[in-house]
């Protein structure tokens, strides 16, 4: 990844997320990054490929964030670690996610299932589900698969509703429900 490509990816990440993918032209990305369109196309090949790179990069940051928050403190009961995911979400929303889940938003703009970005979207959700399942298994609950699914639903729901502004304390509410769910599992 050359310095110019790095700048393009950073700018694309900001513009795509803030304005929506279709609303941003490659011309705007290139000029904002202080780069020629030729350089952009030399590095990424197409806008669609750049979109996929953008999503991949954001997914990486998201995973690192979650893992950092959940595993920051050394010894915590596995059951409580599941609740830390909700804290991670709340921080993420406050710091990087004012316009909702970038992957849900991208899915709305990429109806073609063959688009390279669609794989990244699926993998992002799949990873979180697997991560929750692992934590649930470590917590020794009866049905880790089922609990992980319920928690994923709560997380996605909290993300959407708090973004749409209908429910200000959505993440906190979801965390309470999650707590109750974990205790009875």
């Amino acid at each position: 990844m050359t310095p110019a490509a790095e700048r393009v990816l950073e700018v694309a990440g900001k513009l795509f997320y803030d304005n929506g993918i279709h609303a941003v032209g490659v011309e705007a990305i290139a000029s904002e990054a202080g780069v020629t369109k030729k350089t952009l196309y030399d590095r990424f090949g197409s806008k669609d490929a750049l979109i996929a790179h953008y999503l991949r990069r954001r997914d990486e940051r998201w995973r690192e964030h979650v893992i950092r928050v959940v595993e920051q403190r050394g010894r915590i009961a596995p059951a409580r670690r599941l609740l830390l995911v909700f804290d991670a979400l709340e921080q993420w929303i406050a710091e990087e996610n004012p316009r909702g889940c970038a992957f849900v938003n991208a899915h709305a703009e990429l109806p073609d299932a063959a688009h390279p970005g669609r794989d990244v979207i699926r993998e992002q959700k799949q990873w979180l589900l697997e991560y929750l399942r692992t934590l649930a298994r470590e917590a020794g609950v009866r049905n880790p698969r089922k609990l992980a699914t319920s928690l994923l639903v709560l997380i996605e729901g909290a993300n959407v509703t708090s973004t749409l502004g209908v429910v200000p304390g959505a993440v906190g509410n979801a965390k309470e429900v999650a707590k109750q769910l974990i205790e009875s599992s």
Copy 2:
């Protein structure tokens, strides 16, 4: 609403939802509806206004659907009526919502808070929250406001996750969680 305007609105509803708002041009809508661009602009004024009309129309259909399913059978315990909302969602997804919540999707494409469509999006979510609150109040739970919020989070989460294809039985799962939540309220 003239016959031509009706056709435009119907076509716009299909194209906007299936392809995303920005991806659809007014030219395509007009020709698909068998109408001139002039007629489209005479009736709706601008693409942004048409977008708002599209959302409004879809919201109306959604509300009617929910109310029909929840209130179809005469005498049902109010607590069970809350669960019927999940059945309404499941039907809606199967029949009209393969690409996820149109309002969440539209929100992803309309970053400008002053866009006329944004009001419709907010009102759609607000209505559902109020409706859930009313049902919860009738069910005699301790904290209707809180239960309604939790259920809204579950509904939105189930909608997103089942659309993204990560969790096939998301709505059913959410309904189970809801049941547990209602019983302990």
